[in-house]
Subunit: 131 residues, 2 copies
DNA sequence: GTTTTTGCAAAGTATTTGCAAATGG
DNA sequence: CCATTTGCAAATACTTTGCAAAAAC
């Protein structure tokens, strides 16, 4: 069984992620973290992101474009994905937790959780189109 | 501009997908379609699945495990993903289209659509555990 | 000292793409 | 014929992994 030792790299990755709201990919994190650890490897970044999300300290966000993103905000919230600029942003919206019970109603398995992604054109891309 | 010519391969892929409810991956489709076209290539399967989903005849389903799945049912419905057997199944549940307006409320962009995935343990995996 | 983590490089998946030949209209 | 699609192979994108050295405890 693993005992989980402290690592400066892992701590740094988590701290970086906590400062961001843009749901960066492993590669974006790797690029930025190299300002602090110039020799860190992409493998280490991936390993730590996996580990952190396994222990629930961060969340993996899949938008369907083939690249995983990460989020230090583990509280329940939903994401919007812009089809034009590919930005992923948090939505400020009412709780939709009731969809979980709606899904459980006629289902014979156990529904543990869910993820919702909204897709469309973000505010700034929309404005750029109009002008 | 492309004129979209008929192809037996594309037609066959679509027909195969229409007979299935298990949301197969490109590779699963490739395996099965080779019973009909032994020389078809995986590239052709991918190209046709992309094309079919671009023109809206099928839908791509991303469950977050890194492999895309495909669904010939393009009507609005939600999916459940079993964490044990990785099966992807349709949920028989009330319409939750209201989440779209909930998301649009405080949002300055345009929300075109959304996708919801539920995760947990399916009925048969749950039963196997208990026995 | 023992276990975990790292950096590096290589390998593993899933998907896309260039190109000449085949097919469709 | 001309445009699109195919099969094949190579390329790409993302992520995981084996291993010896370094760090943590």
């Amino acid at each position: 069984m693993q005992a989980l030792k402290y690592s400066r790299q892992r701590e740094s990755i988590k701290e970086l992620l906590m400062t961001r709201r843009d749901h960066p990919t492993a590669d974006m994190i790797y690029t930025d973290i190299r300002a602090i650890f110039p020799n860190i490897s992409l493998g280490t970044v991936y390993r730590n992101l996996s580990l952190l999300s396994e222990i629930g300290e961060i969340k993996k966000v899949s938008t369907g474009d083939g690249v995983d993103r990460y989020d230090a905000d583990t509280s329940p919230h939903n994401h919007f994905v812009c089809r034009q600029c590919n930005a992923v942003m948090d939505l400020d919206m009412d709780d939709i937790g009731s969809i979980k019970s709606a899904a459980s109603k006629n289902f014979d398995g156990i529904i543990e959780d869910y993820s919702v992604n909204f897709y469309g054109i973000c505010g700034s891309c929309k404005d750029n189109k109009e002008n």
